[in-house]
């Protein structure tokens, strides 16, 4: 059986009327995978997901089945499944639409995944600003519970699962899995020192797996159609369908489901091309934390390997498209201001570094930069990248490093006006 590469999977119910209701979901194969899963053993489920090669959709791309297998086989302590629905990466808009349009696919995935990991309590940590989504998801959980898909003795299997929908308070850092766990515990959202990893001591120091919404929503399809079917989509090391959230200067921004490894050229066709025909200048493959691409990269296959080979990372497949009207230093400044605002403050490089970088960029964009500021920017980036506590610091320097890499002339041009002042820097080095 061959699959049309553009046959929707994750988004197939999105256009159905009242797609978020349980009745709609049930009519469209809803909760059939759950019955199948509960008939099997947890080990079988973990193996199916491993065989499918499902990789985490939150950005890091860690194999989901392998992650699940880290959970201890015994149940000395309660096991927890935590869903990271704190979608906050700039440009990313896939999990919230998914939960809006098809919340039951996430819930069904949660029950299957929790069963596979011997967990009896699942938490869905939703971005607090997404109030509508929270309401819809809470409603869906209630519906599922009333129908016996969640709660005690699910479908007569003897398996119990409680699902708690939790609203975050709107901090980017809480998308980092250990900061999310701290926040869920009611603590200040800051990343934890690892080890111990969540599978050993996560939520309330109990074995915990944190998965992205899209990852878990993929699970029912794998259970129903099998790992071989899943591997027919995408590429060898990054199989399966993916929701690309395309924003910016395109004719029809939105969520486009396509197999892993789709190129920007193909995606642009799907979304009607560049807006008003103004040519492409630069774009991000997976949110602002992924180094930007340019027109050179139109044919880079957007999967985990392809993006890395081309010098970026796949991230959340948040494709932000910018046309020639956009100044790169300005865009980089705006992103940097975001990271400065969202840095949690725990570690020095990210806290102080983003504060400094934002000031330099603001100064440059205001026409008060110097060529040496570009060197300072790159050196400060170097002192943050790989030195910060968590990946936020790494992400924060990506736009600057890649922006200067591809568009250094634009940064230099900003400094030209200031060249005269550049000659008299008697205050340079003053504390």
């Amino acid at each position: 059986m061959t699959v049309d590469p553009l046959t929707p999977v994750l988004t197939k119910r999105w256009l159905s009327p009242r797609s978020w209701r349980l009745s709609t979901y049930e009519q469209l194969e809803g909760y059939t995978a759950l019955r199948k899963a509960l008939a099997g053993t947890p080990e079988q489920l973990v193996n199916v997901v491993k065989d499918a090669g499902l990789r985490g959709r939150g950005g890091a791309g860690f194999p989901a089945g392998v992650k699940w297998s880290f959970m201890p086989p015994n149940e000395d302590k309660p096991h927890y499944l935590v869903i990271n629905a704190d979608e906050g990466e700039p440009g990313t808009c896939k999990d919230i639409p998914l939960m809006m349009a098809d919340p039951h696919s996430l819930i069904e995935g949660c029950v299957i995944a929790a069963y596979a990991m011997r967990s009896h309590h699942c938490f869905i940590y939703v971005r607090g600003e997404a109030l509508h989504c929270l309401r819809r998801l809470t409603m869906a959980v209630r519906e599922a519970k009333e129908a016996g898909y969640v709660g005690k003795d699910i479908l007569g299997s003897g398996y119990d699962l409680e699902i708690t929908v939790h609203a975050g308070a709107g901090a980017y850092i809480c998308g980092e899995e250990t900061a999310l766990l701290d926040s869920l515990e009611g603590l200040r959202g800051q990343p934890r020192l690892k080890p111990p990893f969540p599978a050993a001591a996560g939520l309330y120091a109990a074995p915990t797996t944190v998965n992205n919404v899209e990852t878990i929503a993929s699970v029912p399809f794998i259970v129903n159609a099998g790992s071989d079917w899943f591997r027919q989509m995408g590429r060898d090391k990054s199989p399966g369908p993916k929701i690309y959230s395309i924003s910016g200067h395109v004719e029809q921004p939105g969520q486009y489901e396509a197999p892993m490894g789709t190129t920007l050229r193909e995606l642009l066709e799907l979304c009607g091309g560049m807006k008003d025909g103004i040519p492409l200048k630069f774009w991000t493959p997976g949110g602002s934390s992924t180094p930007m691409f340019t027109t050179e990269h139109l044919d880079v296959p957007l999967d985990f390997e392809g993006a890395v080979e081309a010098g970026s990372i796949l991230g959340t497949t948040a494709v932000m498209v910018f046309n020639e009207t956009v100044s790169v230093p300005w865009a980089v400044m705006k992103w940097t201001q975001f990271y400065e605002h969202e840095s949690c403050g725990k570690c020095t490089p990210c806290r102080e570094g983003t504060y400094w970088l934002a000031q330099i960029l603001e100064r440059m964009v205001a026409g008060n930069g110097t060529a040496s500021d570009i060197d300072t920017l790159l050196d400060v980036c170097d002192n943050i990248f790989g030195r910060s506590f968590c990946a936020l610091g790494d992400g924060a320097v990506s736009p600057i490093q890649s922006g200067i890499k591809y568009f250094k002339d634009e940064f230099l041009a900003l400094c030209k006006d200031n060249a005269a002042r550049n000659e008299r820097r008697e205050l340079a080095g003053a504390h």
Binding site: Q190, E340, S343, E352, Q359, R363, V380, N383, G386
Partner: protein
């Protein structure tokens, strides 16, 4: 050290539980689990750090200690925080000394740390002893590339009366918040905001929660009664309330947290530092005293892994100004016969008058000695020897507090001679104990370092902590402990009932290494010591006595008790007396043979006019079981010699006052509760400041007796010549006090009481910042008791006896019904002086609406 490949086979074997790694080319054998930063320290490689502290859990937040690490021949892609990564077999570590990457990473972090730092070193208290300053010079750039705007904050912000916060200097290493959270368990200080706006701060005030924990809601004002409990809070911030808050000043690696008392007093390089030992409680903290121009500027916790680790409590840190009080005695005084007033005199005159008075008493009705519980071993020994050979009496007792014959039997049989070396309970034993039971002892209030160790044991080793007490105190909560609730006075029954009624507790105490702790309050609970003996016999747990005062344990060993000569030799034992007589060069038979009077006996005899003279060393009558009887005793007795630092109730009635030196101006040693010798030297040399042993030696000479205690060293040598402490005398058949416990009538309750760490004690004077952090003086009642008596929480309540009354605001606590708790000597509550009551007494109680 280089290792050629062919020598590999000859490498020293790696001991069990250790790994072999390479740091900067040097081979290191390190125990598994050791952090790279510590392993590097051991070979002399200092990696710069801020958030790292050996007694705090790793945070890896400051990123200053980044090093390159290679595992299995593959370099890790990012530099690793050496404060959080543990050693592993075959690991190769390159620090800033051998790795350009590590060096650049460290320089980069340092530059980032400094961009928002005010660099106000010239006016900063920390300048000169600042890890940021030192490490910036060693590992930082010569200049900064930062030309933009620094973050600014209002400063300083008091986070408690004694700790001031400068958020601009702060590098957010979180040592202070982690100390509060992990070590002290008082998390009233935390990170606020995020990113570059992240700051240390205190939260909004929650007076109800605060008061329920017995914490002070306001650092500046006391309790004002004008309505409900919510009216108690003053201001909208909850101060950092902790008995250990001073430690955050000491461990702050920058000048962000400064001491209100020390701020702008001195520069570190102008100070002279001397090691010292805290004189306040029996914990025995090692300290460092810093002084300048003959005046102590500050005290810091010293490092002693076996005792106080690197901590000390706020009382130990801040309460030293008593030594420089304006009213301190500098000259001897004698009472003028004509005017009846004390007047300054020469030492010669004062000593002659004192000697004459004491000799007259010795010939007549006899003299007795009350040396108090705050002496060094050497001074206590001088009192003990003075009593025996100058006054020819065994009437000496260091216990300036409620005490009992049972207690003396217990001390002589069970406590005497125990040290960590000979199997006595030590701090290390507490840390590794499977279970600890505390009876009649409130660790956080009475021996704060013991409390810290109990919390560490519970937190790190899962030690189960049980406390037999009237209600759940912060110490129980912070050790994750279990309250075994009992009425005051019913502790004996509670201990006896453990095996039958709390088998899990008895079982836990049956595990090897379990410990039972008992405090000074046990002396007022009849039969408790005997019950504890039964308990340890049944369970095999070890028993330790933790007195409240620094000198009590030493005074016991030095013979400042009515039943024992120095070295624990029974006074009634003829051969023991003969030993001492030989050693002291006395004629055989010259030591008094009969048991002496204890403190109660001495006071009663003096009050009844049966004593000719009293020698009193630093005893406050208010501490005695019956202060009024003590006053009567002092005014009835013919002759009183007082060895004192400052005026007290004794001074008013003394015939001769001989000034003595405060702790910082004398040398000697304390025995802490473990029996561990805590030696210290003179910190400040001051002409004319004499220790008690020297004053007594000279006084004895006037009486034609030689004590050989001219100096602490001489006294210690004289005591050592007596030989080791005699084997403990067997446990006597302890007799139960047959008096039935009093039963409260209508409008009456039983009184539970103990002292708080920071209270009205005379050694805490002249330190307003410290005093402001004392826990608020409040009474405590159970809800049903209050309801039955018509008492409203948050309103004042009057507790009275026929002697007097105490009025305090009352708050709820999980006390047994019919019990009120009062702080023993805090604010208006002076249980001994005003109520003449003690733990277990029956008192009257009523709402006091008149003051509302």
């Amino acid at each position: 050290m280089t290792i050629a490949p062919e020598q590999k086979s000859e490498q020293a074997p790696v001991p069990e539980g250790h790994v072999r790694l390479t740091i900067d080319g040097e081979e290191v054998i390190a125990p598994k689990g050791e952090l790279i930063i510590r392993a590097a320290e051991r070979i002399g490689v200092e990696v710069p750090r801020f958030c790292d502290h050996p007694l705090l859990d790793p945070a890896a937040a400051c990123r200053q200690c980044l090093v390159e690490v290679e595992m299995n021949g593959r370099p890790m892609p990012k530099p690793q925080p050496s404060c959080a990564v543990t050693v592993a077999e075959g690991m190769v570590v390159k620090t800033q000394r051998t790795s350009a990457v590590a060096d650049k990473a460290q320089q980069g972090v340092m530059e980032l740390l400094l961009i928002n730092h005010p660099l106000d070193c010239p006016i900063c208290d920390k300048g000169g002893e600042c890890p940021l300053q030192n490490q910036a010079l060693a590992h930082g750039r010569a200049d900064s590339r930062f030309v933009d705007t620094k973050r600014t904050f209002a400063k300083p912000v008091p986070i408690s009366a004694q700790v001031l916060l400068d958020r601009e200097r702060c590098v957010l290493c979180q040592r202070c918040t982690r100390f509060a959270d992990e070590i002290a368990g008082d998390p009233f200080i935390d990170l606020l905001e995020r990113g570059a706006h992240q700051q240390i701060g205190v939260g909004p005030a929650d007076p109800t929660a605060l008061l329920a924990q017995g914490e002070t809601p306001s650092q500046t004002t006391g309790f004002t009664v004008n309505g409900s409990a919510h009216d108690i809070a003053v201001g909208d911030k909850q101060p950092f309330a902790s008995y250990f808050s001073g430690n955050v000043i000491q461990i702050c690696p920058v000048g962000a947290l400064t001491s209100a008392a020390y701020r702008f007093r001195s520069r570190p390089f102008d100070l002279v530092s001397k090691p010292s030992v805290c004189e306040h409680c029996a914990s025995g903290c090692a300290q460092r005293t810093d002084f300048r121009r003959g005046k102590v500027q500050r005290r810091l916790a010293g490092e002693d892994a076996a005792v106080n680790e690197e901590w000390t409590c706020d009382k130990g840190r801040f309460a030293f100004t008593y030594a420089t009080a304006d009213d301190r005695f500098t000259r001897p005084m004698v009472r003028d016969e004509k005017t009846g007033e004390l007047k300054e005199s020469s030492w010669t005159e004062a000593l002659r008058i004192a000697a004459d008075g004491l000799l007259a008493a010795r010939k007549g009705k006899g003299a007795a000695v009350l040396p108090g519980g705050r002496l060094t071993v050497e001074d206590a020994y001088a009192y003990a020897k003075f009593a025996r050979i100058a006054l020819r009496t065994n009437d000496i007792d260091f216990r300036a507090r409620p005490h009992s014959a049972e207690e003396l039997d217990f001390l002589s049989s069970t406590v005497l001679g125990a040290t960590p070396e000979n199997g006595g309970v030590s701090y290390a034993d507490l840390e590794t104990a499977p279970a600890v039971l505390s009876v009649a002892f409130e660790p956080e209030e009475e021996s704060p370092i013991v409390f810290l160790r109990l919390r560490k044991a519970a937190r790190k080793n899962g030690t189960r902590f049980f406390q037999i007490a009237s209600h759940t105190t912060p110490a129980v909560t912070k050790t994750f402990g279990t309250l075994l609730a009992c009425e005051p006075g019913a502790e004996t029954a509670a201990v006896d009932g453990l095996v039958a009624h709390a088998p899990d507790v008895a079982q836990a105490l049956g595990k090897p290494g379990a410990v039972v702790l008992v405090g000074e309050r046990a002396a007022v609970i009849p039969g408790l010591f005997a019950a504890l003996h039964r308990l340890i016999t049944a369970t095999g747990a070890k028993l330790a006595w933790i007195p409240r005062r620094a000198g009590e344990r030493g005074a016991l060993e030095a013979g400042a008790v009515p039943n024992l000569l120095p070295g624990g030799r029974p006074v009634t034992d003829a051969s023991a007396r003969a030993d001492i007589e030989r050693s002291w060069g006395l004629a055989p038979g010259s030591l008094p043979e009969s048991l002496g009077l204890d403190t109660n006996g001495i006071i009663a005899a003096a009050a009844a006019g049966q004593l000719g003279a009293l020698v009193v060393g630093g005893v406050d009558p208010d501490d005695l079981p019956d202060p009024e009887l003590a006053d009567l005793a002092l005014s009835t007795v013919d002759f009183v010699v007082s060895l004192e630092l400052r005026p007290s109730e004794v001074t008013k009635r003394a015939h001769v006052v001989l000034p003595v030196a405060p702790a910082q101006e004398r040398s000697g040693s304390y025995l802490n509760w473990e029996g561990r010798r805590r030696e210290f030297d003179v910190v400040i040399e001051r002409a004319g400041a004499l220790p008690d042993c020297r004053v007594l030696d000279t006084l004895a000479v006037e009486m034609d007796v030689d004590l050989f205690t001219q100096t602490a060293q001489a006294a210690a040598g004289d005591l050592a010549r007596l030989g080791p402490v005699a084997a403990p005398i067997p446990v006597p058949a302890l007799v139960l006090d047959a008096t039935p416990a009093p039963t409260p009538g209508p409008g009456q309750v039983k009184l539970a009481t103990w002292r708080q760490l920071l209270d009205n004690g005379s050694l805490q004077i002249n330190e307003p910042h410290l005093a402001a952090t004392a826990r608020l003086a409040t009474a405590r009642l159970a809800e049903q008791t209050a309801a039955a008596l018509g008492i409203t929480f948050g309103r004042p309540v009057t507790v009275s006896t026929r002697h007097g009354s105490v009025t305090l605001p009352v708050l709820p606590a999980d006390l047994p019904p019919g019990v009120v708790w009062l702080p023993e000597n805090s604010g208006p509550s002076s249980v001994r002086r005003t109520l003449r009551a003690t733990h277990g007494s029956v008192v009257d109680i009523a709402a006091n609406e008149g003051e509302a």
